[in-house]
């Protein structure tokens, strides 16, 4: 019994448990309230259903949020991701006109990394506050995207490019695999190199990290470049799915959902510890919530309100101070 309570308490300390709990509750609600939510059909070698749609539609958000996790862990933020998404999408579609697909993809990724390095330079070398520094690219980013598209919505018919937004692999939408790939890459970077330790150390104390021989500037540059790369992957997915690039509307407001996904996932805005798995769960939760609200047939004018209320609830679950009001957490762990 004592062991059981101890292990329950340990689970309670693992921050990923709370977003998981929120997602589980939402799914149980869907199971009861929305008939057929979990039904999955299989035809033409593909799976169809709400759950599959969630995986597919959550991918730009999840991938951007994964990158965002790193910069939030560094006590930073990147609010330019929506604009970078638009730039990368525009670049990809633009380059398809005359170049092979792989060059278009490399160009889209390249310009995203460049945007990230620009942000990183403003923040780590010039010392501009992250919110302000990335506000610059948020504002001019869509202008740059418009310059690339020439002010029009440009489109493509390249099948190999649109595969990245419409394609299926092993019966599942390609997006699900893209989330997995980005997650796996970052997870390896976190647990098989010193990058995770350095990010958490710089996020915890920049001064102490510098005294220990870490270069906070390099860590920040790399992290902002990674967010830029993540935003371009999302940009490629969005433009491939539509077969076109819309400089004005692609990825609009996605930065806010991405920040929310990171916070729901258990990473603190104060920097330090970060949780990649939590972030993915957070992004899936946000997308599921949107799907649920649409499936319930909530009137259009109330959708944002309902979403806000649920998000408040999730944030309350996340808050240790709020939880302590109900359950005394870890008060009696004494080793005599």
């Amino acid at each position: 019994m004592a062991n059981l309570t101890a292990s329950v308490r340990n689970i309670g300390r693992n921050p990923i448990i709370w977003p998981l709990l929120a997602l589980a509750l939402l799914m149980i609600f869907n199971l009861i309230a929305i008939p057929g939510f979990f039904s999955i059909e299989f035809h033409d070698g593909r799976l169809f259903g709400s759950v599959v749609d969630i995986l597919k539609n959550a991918s730009p958000l999840a991938i951007i949020a994964l990158g965002m996790t790193l910069v939030i862990a560094l006590e930073g933020i990147d609010i330019s991701v929506g604009s970078v998404l638009a730039i990368a999408g525009a670049m990809g579609i633009f380059m398809l006109d005359g170049y092979p697909t792989w060059i278009a993809i490399l160009a889209a990724l390249g310009i995203g990394v460049l945007c990230g390095l620009w942000n990183g330079m403003l923040i780590s070398i010039l010392g501009i506050q992250p919110m302000v520094a990335t506000l610059i690219l948020l504002t001019i980013g869509r202008g740059i995207a418009q310059l690339i598209t020439g002010g029009r919505i440009i489109d493509t018919t390249s099948a190999s490019y649109t595969f990245l937004g419409k394609g299926y692999f092993l019966g599942l939408p390609i997006q699900a695999f893209l989330i997995l790939i980005v997650f796996a890459l970052l997870y390896v970077l976190k647990t098989r190199t010193a990058f995770g330790l350095f990010v958490e150390s710089v996020g915890g104390s920049k001064t102490a990290s510098r005294y220990a021989g870490i270069r906070p500037r390099s860590i920040m540059m790399i992290s902002y470049a990674i967010v830029g790369a993540c935003a371009s992957v999302a940009g490629i997915i969005v433009s491939a799915n539509l077969g076109s690039a819309d400089a004005n509307n692609a990825g609009l407001w996605i930065e806010l959902d991405a920040i929310l996904a990171v916070v729901i996932g258990g990473t603190s805005m104060r920097g330090g510890r970060f949780y990649l798995g939590g972030t993915v769960i957070g992004a899936l939760f946000i997308q599921s919530l949107t799907t649920t609200i649409y499936s319930l047939g909530v009137p259009a004018e109330s959708i944002l309100l309902v979403k806000a209320i649920v998000v408040i609830l999730v944030c309350l679950i996340q808050s240790e101070a709020f939880r302590k009001l109900f359950v005394p957490v870890g008060k009696k762990a004494i080793i005599e």
């Binding site: 990290s209 762990a333 080793i335």
Partner: protein, 509 residues
Amino acid sequence: METGYILKARGITKSFPGVKALADVDFSLRKGEIHALMGENGAGKSTLIKALTGVFPKDAGQIWLNGAEISPRTPLEAQQIGISTVYQEVNLCDNLTVAENIFSGRYPRKFGLIDWDKVYRRSEEMLAALELRIDVRQPLSHYSVAVQQMVAIARAVDISNGILILDEPTSSLDANEVKQLFNVMRKLKDKGMGIVFVTHFLDQVYEVTDRITVLRNGSLIGEYATKDLPKTELVSRMIGREWTESQESKTAADTVDDVFLQASGLGKKGSVERIDLTVNKGEVLGLAGLLGSGRTETAKLLFGIDKADSGVLTIGGEEFALMNPKKAITKGIGFTPEDRKVAGIVGELTIRENIALALQAQRGLFSFISVRKQKEIAQKYIEMLQIKTPGTEQKVENLSGGNQQKVILARWLATRPKLLILDEPTRGIDVGSKSEIRRLIRELAADGMSIVFISAELEEMVQCCDRIIVLRDRMKIGEVRGADMEENNIMRLIAEGANGYGESNGLGA
């Protein structure tokens, strides 16, 4: 309840995950007395004070203030009933002015607006009572740590209602400032105020206190009148064993001078004037001087945390005009900074991660030390340095100051440095740990490691060092070794010349 007591606490108990920090401790403070709270690191001094001042709730026990039972739940509540504390590290806002710091949260009002004239006038008066005359309209960051400490004390005295708690107030003050502080403390005592004084300096306890309460491992050992408790008795009660003033044996200073590092003309404007020094293999080199004399600044130039604007460093025959920490670490230099809380530990991370940090930085991003290996390394140093912790996965911020210092030492020892720069490694830690660290310094040097040692306590420098460079006003003014290495000689070097002892802070040369 008897009269004459300002504060009485009975049966105070407090536990943290994994540690019982206070067990059934009693404490009482009389009117008009200065009461020392003594104990080693982790004895529970800070915990007791934090429980008294509402920083965290006590698990059990009762507290009475002026006869009425109190139970402050936040530091603000404690302040409102008149218990104010000056902590070890200055807890004020750097970017606000001195006067704003003194009055923040309780500005005097006139017609609903802040009465700034009064704020400035009263701030000046209060500081004048501490014999400190400074421009109260300047931001606090403009002044030295010592002055900031005085400002914190001024604020606390003004808020307090008969009780003042000073947690290690003297660790960053020089001798003159300590004297000033003691004068102020005696004045306040004569006015009937009760003062709780936490310190590690034994001499200061005997100079200024009336009674002593000793804690050890979270338990009350006893309460004594200062005049009835000889110093050796006090020490043995604190560390729980018979203790003889350790005289670490020094290796004969006749080793052949085998230079590890040489600095010529190393300097930085506003920080240190061009300085020449050499560090030999296996020697302990001291940098002595007052606060602000350039001792810390020199160390920072050697490690490359601050960039020198003149001079050359030669390490193992290789010349460097610009140093940086990464390069320094690669060349086998380690550095424990004086400000342990800000520049030393990463509080949120575990002991394991804190210890692995410098070694990992030395090896670079991709040559990752596996978590299992990190645990082995951490465990090795926990045992070697006797760090008090239930395991390697504890957050460093939950450790006591002395144990945090040991974690930072472990971080550098793990890199197997050729030169270790220790800036005030013994500041704010107990006598037991102090002598452990001193012994360690001698052992490391005997094994061939070079050490640059900085301390405010000359006695300890004379004990540990083979050679001492003396600094004043950001300049090297002399060097002593062998038989000349005596406290009096060094003091004379520091004191002689135009500037008197204790007046050289912040004056540019």
